[in-house]
């Protein structure tokens, strides 16, 4: 059978330094300039996803500050509508497509999931690297657009016909549509990598019902990405066809349908909210368990809730379209569905309370951020109940009330857990613990600033201020509340500066973390910080939901994987029995080159349809290079040989 006898937990294993040496040599990434681009290890790509996404978070934050500055008084002449429309479109598009999903789903997922599974690398590492470069390509296209005065100006949702050829000449809307293609291909690629890793690379013994909640959530999110993203790619693809080759999918004058676009967009758009929120909930479940010093209360209800959210999340999209005048019966259906999705989220909240209640709470920095999440997301969730009601939604839809609501949900559901997660896994990524005092300053500054800005926006919405206006009349008496809202930006900016200082400082001079500074149960804490290139000296086995808490000291480990090639273990998707040994394809420059050629084709097709036939041969060449057979046969070997 697969699991052999040697018994020593691998982090204390000094006798096997020879093996560690050989593994390090086998799994080494090449250095140098090209080596950087051919890296396919998930920890490196994961951190790159996070750092890149965070840079775009800061850029989009600067845009937000510019908007708050413009709205600080009525009839402000700081910027005109042309610039303002580009800025709010860029803010939304960047935050959703270049920050929230790449950070919460791709970044954390790619970094943490293989470690939590006990795997040596992510499944399809080259596809993973390709996804990263394609994401960067999309980000550069979008921001290159803004810097050349071609920034999209039709809103992050780009409703037709405003974004169609008749009302948006030029290439602004094209850039938006093509950016969607980039980022969605990237998200789909990572979804496939993560789902496969979770289903096929779990450590032996980690059956489905022993999977950490975080892995469950990542699996559900990956499935949601696979089902939701095609809808928006169809929407933006048809829009591009309308714009570039003169089709009439969305042109009402020729029998096209403007509502079709909205259905396609929101069929993606609402699941997207859960694609952003569930990774946050996953982090919170992990932290609540760790810092309450007990197993999470209600593992099964939480998992069922997450899966239920994954399904119900696809049946609420019409609540973005109540004002289009749909029949009352269908609106009532979507009201019911939108209210129903509160239940699984409520179950998770109740289980978190119960876990803390019957645990021993250690309010370390990540947990402080988790409490920030409880407060902020709760407010956002409750105002969301209001928005599910058709008559109320018809009043506050497209006003600052909705702006307040979704910032409470998204900043609460993604940004607070993100900071919690960064402070939590920072020791794993860097080997050092982030400074706790600076972290608390960061928390309180950001928390106070956030609430000043966004709580105020509820009042503006109820006073009738619509979204996406570049200015307003003094007669509306919105200026005092706008001034108050804008003042919160100062606190948030200060908080973020403290965070950046903390990261830079702690990376070099923070307290040494050791393998498991928080005493958490996940497999990622059994290896050194930062993890070695091969992750695990021996693939571990697990016998419970919380491996490091429950496994006896003589827990078996997997032996028999070769150390001269990059061999990984494939296990059964349900009960995680070893099935095959498979070779990890190793570093390669081809995913980067493929991303380059694909990006060039995508960008070119903004300008001429000929870019597709001209761009295809280079793409094919790079794909051939990527898929070229290696010297020795990687034929799967049965795990019986282990």
């Amino acid at each position: 059978m697969a699991v052999a006898e040697p018994i020593i937990p691998n982090d204390q294993d000094t006798g096997q330094s020879e093996l560690a040496h050989r593994l390090a040599r086998t799994w080494r990434q090449s250095g140098g300039f090209w080596g950087w681009f051919s890296n396919t290890h998930h920890t490196d790509i994961g951190i790159r996803f996070m750092v890149t996404a965070f840079i775009f978070f800061l850029l989009a934050g600067i845009l937000a500050a510019m908007m708050r500055l413009q709205l600080i008084r009525p009839e402000n002449s700081l910027m005109g509508p042309d610039l303002y429309n580009q800025i709010f479109t860029m803010h939304g598009s960047t935050m959703i497509f270049l920050f929230a999903v790449p950070m919460m789903f791709q970044g954390f997922g790619v970094y943490v999931v293989p470690l939590m599974c006990g795997a040596r690398n992510i499944a399809f590492p080259r596809l993973n690297a390709f996804s990263y470069y394609l994401y960067v390509g999309g980000a550069l296209v979008l921001w290159g657009g803004l810097l050349t005065n071609t920034g999209p100006d039709v809103g992050w949702f780009a409703y037709v016909p405003l974004s169609g050829p008749a009302y948006s000449p030029g290439h602004r809307a094209d850039i938006w549509s093509q950016m969607i293609t980039f980022t969605e291909v990237s998200a789909l690629g990572v979804a496939i990598c993560l789902a496969t890793t979770i289903l096929r690379h779990r450590a032996p013994g980690m059956t489905l019902n022993r999977m950490p909640i975080l892995l469950w959530e990542k699996l559900v999110i990956s499935m949601m990405v696979i089902f939701a993203m095609p809808a928006v790619m169809i929407a933006s693809g048809l829009l591009l066809l309308d714009r570039l080759v003169g089709t009439h999918f969305f042109n009402p004058a020729e029998g096209g349908d403007v509502l079709l676009y909205q259905h396609l967009f929101w069929f993606f758009g609402h699941p997207e909210v859960y694609i952003i929120f569930l990774p946050g909930a996953a982090i919170i479940s992990t932290l609540v368990e760790c810092f309450s010093r007990r197993r999470i209360f209600g593992y099964t209800p939480i998992v069922v809730s997450v899966v239920a959210t994954g399904f119900v999340g696809f049946s609420v999209w019409v609540h973005h379209m109540f004002a289009t005048g749909l029949p009352q019966l269908s609106e009532s259906f979507f009201t019911a569905a939108s209210l129903m999705i509160v239940i699984p989220t409520g179950v998770q909240f109740f289980c978190w309370v119960a876990t803390i209640w019957n645990g021993r709470l250690q309010l370390r920095l990540p947990m402080l951020w988790a409490f920030g999440f409880f407060f902020v997301f709760l407010i956002g969730g409750l105002s969301g109940v209001m928005l599910a009601s058709v008559p109320l939604d018809l009043q506050v839809h497209d006003t600052y009330f909705v702006v307040a609501h979704f910032h409470y949900v998204l900043i609460g559901g993604a940004l607070f857990p993100m900071f919690a997660g960064i402070y939590f896994w920072f020791p794993k990524m860097t080997g050092r613990i982030a400074d706790e005092t600076l972290g608390k300053w960061h928390f309180w500054l950001f928390f106070i600033g956030f609430n000043i800005t966004f709580f105020t926006l509820h009042f503006l919405g109820l006073r009738g201020m619509p979204r996406r206006v570049y200015t307003y009349s003094p007669d509306m008496h919105w200026h005092r509340l706008n001034l108050l809202a804008s003042s919160g930006v100062i606190f948030m900016t200060a908080g973020l500066l403290v965070f950046l200082a903390n990261m830079l400082r702690s990376r070099k001079s923070g307290e040494i973390a050791g393998n498991n500074p928080w005493g958490d149960a996940g497999l990622e804490w059994s290896v050194s910080s930062p993890p070695p290139a091969y992750n695990f000296l021996h693939i571990p086995t697990v016998s419970g939901r919380d491996p490091l808490w429950e496994d006896p000291p003589d827990q078996p480990i997997v032996v028999g994987l070769r150390d001269d090639i990059r061999e990984t273990l494939v296990t059964h998707s349900l009960d995680a029995d070893p099935q095959y040994k498979e070779e990890d394809p190793g570093p390669s420059i081809w995913p980067f080159l493929a991303a380059l050629t694909v990006s060039a084709t995508f960008v070119g097709s903004i300008f001429t349809p000929w870019a597709v036939p001209i761009g295809a041969p280079p793409v094919i060449v790079t794909l051939l290079g990527w898929l070229w057979p290696r010297g020795h046969s990687p034929a799967p070997r049965l795990a019986g040989e282990l």
Partner: protein, 340 residues
């Protein structure tokens, strides 16, 4: 508790910053039956949610306070199955209460929705509203063409009468919203839909486009002028008349300016040769309070500034600048201001 206290600071600041202004653009001080129904729904749900919020924050605070230990190093893991059984009972009760609460919210929401949307009146006033970038075309259709009124941005209605609004858009999606009256309705190109509202207090209700519609989405206001039936009828009779002939030489010259410059390419003045429907109908422009979709007051100065350089006031508007000679401009303003 620290968390809770701090959370009140922004709320307090907001309250200090908000003496309610008397403007009629408020969701929560509605001047119409539908708006008041929605306001009732708002407060009903609001207080339920406040209760939920307080309970949840109390639960988290209590849970944190009772289980908090100030140790720095990770403590050993504890298990307490007995306590967990009690917690399970509490959690499932909370889920049950949640389901019931949500169901109540669903019922009152659907009931309010029916009250707000169902149309029962037999003799409504019908108004056709067409969204344009960036103004509102308002038509009172009638089977006889000469009994049809066309105006812009200001919607006169009689009080205590159902008003059926037929929606349409000439270009992109707009959304018709007067917060003090009722919820919004999108104007979709290619779709005609209808909804109704009613106002029972005379007054001027402000409204604004609520769906992003391009450069001048911010300056796409309108107003609903609700007045007693007799005043409404008088207004209607006045609007049905063609434009009055100029009464003096300057106004007459103004009309010539209008008909010999770019004005007539886009605007209609009934009773003259100007008949284009690209821009607002100006037959009775002097009877309106505001111009440029509620952007400027309808004064001689504002009108002159608008005619000469509309792009400065509403950058991107479809109206082109008009470099008129000062005399011509003066005459044109006099003429337009005579179009009561």
């Amino acid at each position: 508790m620290k968390l809770l206290e701090l959370s009140f600071i922004p709320a307090r600041l907001v309250i200090q910053a908000m003496p309610l202004n008397p403007g009629s653009h408020l969701v929560l001080h509605a001047g119409a039956p539908q708006g008041r129904n929605i306001e009732w729904l708002y407060w009903s749900i609001f207080w339920v949610l406040v209760a939920v919020f307080v309970l949840m924050i109390a639960a988290f605070t209590r849970a944190g306070a009772r289980s908090h230990v100030s140790a720095w190093k990770p403590l050993p893991i504890i298990e307490n199955d007995e306590a967990d059984r009690r917690a399970a009972w509490a959690v499932w009760s909370a889920v049950g209460v949640t389901v019931i609460t949500l169901f109540v919210i669903l019922v009152i929401s659907v009931v309010t929705g029916k009250r707000v949307e169902g149309l029962t009146s037999k003799n409504p006033v019908t108004v056709q509203i067409t969204g344009h970038q960036w103004w509102w075309e308002v038509t009172y259709p009638n089977s006889q063409a000469d009994q049809t009124i066309t105006t812009a941005n200001e919607i006169h209605i009689p009080i205590n009468t159902r008003v059926v609004v037929l929606t349409n858009s000439a270009d992109v999606i707009h959304s018709f919203w007067a917060p003090s009256i009722t919820g919004k309705r999108d104007l979709l190109p290619g779709y005609s839909s209808a909804f109704w509202f009613e106002v029972d207090k005379a007054g001027i209700y402000h409204g604004q486009c609520a769906e992003f519609c391009g450069l001048q989405h911010a300056h796409m206001g309108f107003s609903v002028i609700a007045e007693p039936v007799d005043k409404f009828d008088a207004w209607k009779r006045q609007q049905l008349k063609p434009a009055s002939d100029p009464s003096d030489a300057e106004a007459s010259r103004g009309r010539d300016v209008f008909l010999t410059h770019a004005c007539l390419m886009c605007h209609t003045i009934r009773g003259t040769d100007a008949g284009s429907r690209f821009g607002p109908d100006l037959t009775h422009v002097a009877s309106r309070n505001m111009i440029a979709a509620e952007t400027l007051p309808n004064t001689a100065g504002a009108l002159g500034g608008w005619i000469v350089d509309p792009q400065r006031i509403k950058p991107g508007t479809k109206m082109t600048p008009n470099a008129l000679a000062p005399d011509d401009l003066q005459a044109l303003i006099v003429y337009l201001r005579s179009l009561e």
